[in-house]
Symmetry: C2
């Protein structure tokens, strides 16, 4: 791990407030690895040996049951994932695989738990982080239960749009099939949902999206900060 990476990790909210010596001790026990795409990093049901921090690339969190599979989230740098399993020393509820070439830090779960027991800055940061994660999943559930697939797509596009400076055009940075699964639909249905948004000024060509009039689209999407705002 190089120095700038250590700095990036240190800057993460969950590590920012902890004592220097504890942070260094955490880092000493850690591993950094580069993974090619499509590597399964962890499997649902396994004991949580490591807290993962993604430095570059992209990771998909997904879940399976009865031969079905669903994308639960896409994680991008710089952030941690499967924090809750690490804390509770419980089996992973989701599996994770790299979508792109990714650089990932592995912090032994036992170290994380040990230090969270003694470092109050760390434990307080974890409270905030987990509260945030919790709220994220709740928002996701609301999205799933209260909206149709077209409404979900409309809101998804608006969110990506504003994330890309909102100038009318942006690129999808993940496969459509993953987007579809994440939003609880099939690839075919996503394809048709995109067409259904044409009357609202949405044009999609490959990975490039054009939104003619964000307000028009928003009139359908009815974005709600209590569902769509990543903050708060």
């Amino acid at each position: 791990m190089n120095e700038s990476e250590t700095t990036d990790i240190r800057a993460l909210p969950i590590f920012a407030e902890m004592a220097d010596e504890n942070f260094e001790s955490l880092m000493r026990g850690s591993y950094v690895q580069n993974f090619p795409p499509q590597i399964e990093l962890i499997s649902e049901g396994e004991p949580s040996d490591f807290l993962h921090v993604i430095i570059s690339g992209a990771v998909e969190l997904f879940a399976s049951w009865n031969d079905r599979e669903s994308t639960m989230a896409i994680v991008r740098p710089v952030s941690t994932f499967i924090l809750a399993a690490t804390i509770k020393d419980a089996p992973y509820l989701m599996s994770a695989r790299t979508l792109e070439k990714s650089r990932i830090v592995l912090l032994p779960s036992t170290d994380v738990r040990q230090i969270y027991d003694i470092d109050n800055g760390f434990s307080r940061a974890l409270v905030t982080e987990l509260a945030q994660c919790y709220r994220g999943v709740v928002k996701n559930s609301k999205d799933l239960k209260l909206r149709t697939s077209i409404e979900r797509l409309a809101n998804y596009l608006l969110k990506q749009h504003s994330r890309a400076n909102g100038n009318g055009a942006f690129e999808l940075n993940i496969e459509k099939r993953k987007i579809a699964s994440q939003m609880g639909m099939t690839p075919e249905n996503l394809s048709r949902a995109i067409k259904a948004l044409k009357p609202y000024g949405v044009t999609v060509n490959g990975t490039s999206v054009h939104i003619a009039d964000a307000d028009d689209l928003a009139s359908l999407a009815k974005p709600d900060p209590l569902i769509d705002d990543p903050l708060s």
Copy 2:
């Protein structure tokens, strides 16, 4: 608040490890109230003024968007709810209403945040609690995304069945419409789903459920600890 109630609250995992003086200070600032059924305790979007602890009765957490409404969870004693909003000093993501006559303790959010800043036992307990909550919502999402409504119902019934000692018969303790909404379906659809489980030995009469052969039902439900186990 009487003494046995204070003891019950103190016994909750999130309060068990905190210093006596901090617990007492929290309790001093708290209110206890009895609410009739159907009272809206909190509304989605409002600032989180109080952490709620339910002592008796039942509370529904629900969410709304665009004139639609969905039951997100049912909370039973003794437990807290809307902890994450309190911690983050953020607006509630869900509303809450009493389903039955309920006794509820209100702890001012500012007090909770203040004490969590100074009491390390408390902040560590919050980490565990929030990790648990997070995992609960993730399991719920998996249930929703990976299963059909009939499979969800089958698993729901098995869970209630084992909770009621697994002797073949038990009572539904909430309205069917709420059960339906919680599982992401309409009351009509729940009604039909129940019928669809008849070949698996499920009989429902009013609120009383009879399960002839739990193994038979489980062969359809395929319960999975990573979705259905409340613990871990």
